[in-house]
């Protein structure tokens, strides 16, 4: 849940990047970190294994600017994508305000995408959230690779409800900020509606 601090005039929101292992969640955050002005970002923290696979989470705090005199801060988290880290994924979803699902567009990862998005829905339900009620966007990543499925094919399985979706190549940064802006906007609209 977002945290509104009237004393320091700040509002904090939590965005979680979800998706199967090696789909590019950490790469998304790394690109945002590299391309954000130093005054707008904090330190990026990666709790990773020796082989640079996410072990618990990556964390990146961003300050977007002010709305009506309130500093707007977003805390970006990734989950560990590998299947056996499910207990950790559940913990990171606690208090989430918006979710980005990063899909791996490669044909051979199609089943992994489906398994991960079902896992997301299930883990959210366990926390009392409904994915269909939550600010949610989908990113089709790795569009630059040769063996990708078409966006139509991916959409049919992963995005039947038609949430905002973006094609991306997180390694070069294409589509990364478009995705982030979309989820941040949905969260703010949701906050506005909520009161």
């Amino acid at each position: 849940m977002s945290f509104i601090n009237y004393a320091s005039r700040e509002i904090n929101c939590k965005i979680v990047y979800y998706g199967p292992g090696l789909c590019g969640k950490t790469t998304n955050l790394q690109h945002v970190y590299q391309k954000t002005a130093p005054e707008a970002k904090g330190k990026m923290i990666s709790l990773a294994t020796e082989t640079e696979r996410t072990l618990f989470f990556d964390f990146l705090p961003l300050a977007l600017g002010e709305i009506r005199g309130f500093k707007t801060r977003f805390h970006l988290y990734t989950v560990p994508g590998q299947v056996f880290y499910d207990a950790s994924r559940k913990l990171i979803l606690k208090g989430v305000d918006g979710v980005v699902f990063v899909a791996d567009s490669q044909e051979e990862r199609f089943d992994a995408n489906i398994e991960s998005i079902e896992n997301l829905r299930f883990n959210l339900q366990e926390q009392g959230y409904d994915l269909d009620q939550l600010p949610f966007v989908i990113q089709y990543n790795k569009r630059d690779l040769p063996n990708v499925m078409t966006v139509d094919e991916l959409r049919r399985e992963l995005n039947p409800t038609g949430v905002p979706e973006f094609e991306a190549c997180a390694a070069t940064g294409e589509g990364v900020f478009e995705t982030l802006k979309a989820i941040a906007k949905l969260i703010l609209i949701d906050l506005k509606k909520g009161k």
Partner: protein, 163 residues
């Protein structure tokens, strides 16, 4: 939704800081933070500028979440106190009022026993403040007198953030 929205007002913020300042003095600790279970910093007193408070808040919440997961696995509700001992500095982490985390950093000028004793007293005071805060937020919402800053934002306001 899973949790009611966390809101902080000026009055309670001042009360909390007064309580934390007192704990800082009485426990002879270096710095004290109060963190939301979701990893957002609520307040800090002492030598806060020496620390990356945002990272500290996020990692503390992650730590509490992970040990909370462990607790459930062995049939405990939660582990309400964590203690990390370093060569110079030590970290005492405790859960207050079920939803906020109190982090005390101290060195050899204090001791674990003293910190535990003082934290216990402070926890009761903080619990009272947070219960009052929750009630206040609920009442304001019921009366519709919430001075929620985002109720009147426009699409332009949101777009301007990204320009």
């Amino acid at each position: 939704m899973a949790n009611p929205q966390m809101v902080m007002y000026d009055e309670e913020f001042r009360q909390i800081n007064t309580v934390l300042e007192k704990l800082l003095r009485e426990s002879h600790s270096k710095v004290i933070f109060l963190v939301d279970k979701n990893g957002q910093l609520i307040s800090g007193v002492g030598d806060t500028e020496k620390f990356d408070t945002t990272s500290l808040a996020s990692l503390t919440a992650g730590n509490i979440a992970a040990t909370g997961g462990l607790a459930k696995l062995i049939g405990e509700k939660e582990f309400s106190i964590l203690f990390h001992e370093g060569e110079k500095d030590n970290l005492h982490i405790s859960i207050v009022a079920g939803r906020v985390i109190l982090v005390v950093i101290f060195d050899s000028r204090s001791s674990l026993g003293l910190v535990r004793l003082r934290v216990k007293k402070t926890s009761d005071e903080l619990t009272g403040i947070f219960e009052g805060l929750l009630k206040k937020a609920e009442e304001r919402e019921k009366q519709g007198t919430s001075d929620f800053p985002f109720a009147e934002i426009t699409d332009d306001d949101i777009d301007n953030l990204f320009s």
